[in-house]
């Protein structure tokens, strides 16, 4: 009684948000709208994490995805001129029927299969940051170190890839 209806309602709203925003990312023509709706999808996903009881993961999701990756993508959108998509129509391209058939053929059975999972009743507790941190730093310490090296490599790689080569620029200016 009482508040029992709250959780399914919130889940329904968040699920519509996640799937709807995801579909909008794929279908919309305007890229900034796509980027912002992707951020909305991430936010609804964070809500789902909270619903599952993993608040730390939800906080990390918002911090990393909405706070950093969305901003990165919007920077990427603004540094490139986005006229290209207009020369072809968005729909009725050659590859659409094939892609649609493939995806539908795989997606529909998988989604139906997903409905067959049964889990025991969820236990309360857990989702705290302390057991998570203990796991990361003791059981998975090696993976943690590898992940930090990966981030370092990505950072250095991104900087090196986007550095302007001075001689090439000077040659281009002289031309």
């Amino acid at each position: 009684m009482g508040f029992d209806f709250v959780e399914p309602v919130i889940f329904a709203v968040l699920a519509v948000g996640v799937i709807g925003a995801g579909a909008a990312v794929v279908l919309l023509n305007r890229i900034t709208a796509s980027a912002l709706l992707m951020a909305l999808s991430f936010l609804c996903m964070a809500g789902m994490f909270v619903l599952l009881g993993a608040e730390t993961i939800a906080a990390f999701q918002v911090l990393i995805y909405v706070g950093a990756i969305t901003v990165l993508i919007i920077f990427g959108v603004q540094f490139t001129k986005q006229g290209g998509d207009r020369s072809y129509a968005l729909f009725f391209q050659k590859q659409y029927p094939i892609a649609a058939a493939l995806v539908a053929a795989v997606a529909i059975p998988v989604v139906l299969f997903a409905f067959s999972f049964n889990a025991p009743a969820p236990q309360p507790g857990g989702g705290d940051i302390r057991p998570l941190a203990t796991s990361v730093f003791t059981d998975f310490a090696f993976a943690f170190e590898v992940a930090s090296v990966l981030l370092l490599a990505a950072m250095v790689g991104a900087i090196v890839l986007t550095q302007r080569d001075e001689r090439v620029e000077a040659a281009r200016r002289r031309r």
């Binding site: 995801g22 996903m45 992940a147």
Partner: protein
Amino acid sequence: MTVPLSFYVAVSAGLFFIGCAGVLTRRNAVVILMCVELMLNAANLALVAFSRRFGAVDERGSVFVIFVFVIAAAEVAVGLAIVLSAYRNRPVIDVDEIHQMKG
């Protein structure tokens, strides 16, 4: 009445395939990166759902999610760097046009 696990997995599967469809059909490089992020998110949702529902004290699913966050961030950074540096060479963003290495 808590939401059964299968619904979370179904949402995850749906989002994954929407992202998949986006990667296969869109031609803008940045949009393809966005759809890849959607797919990674779907995987995260499935991981967290299973981790939290099949045992509250088994944190391995959530730990894996943290590593997936790290990898997704690194991948977007490097992917955008590649797109920007290719854009500097030839100012096109349409992946159908970037085919200098073909043939």
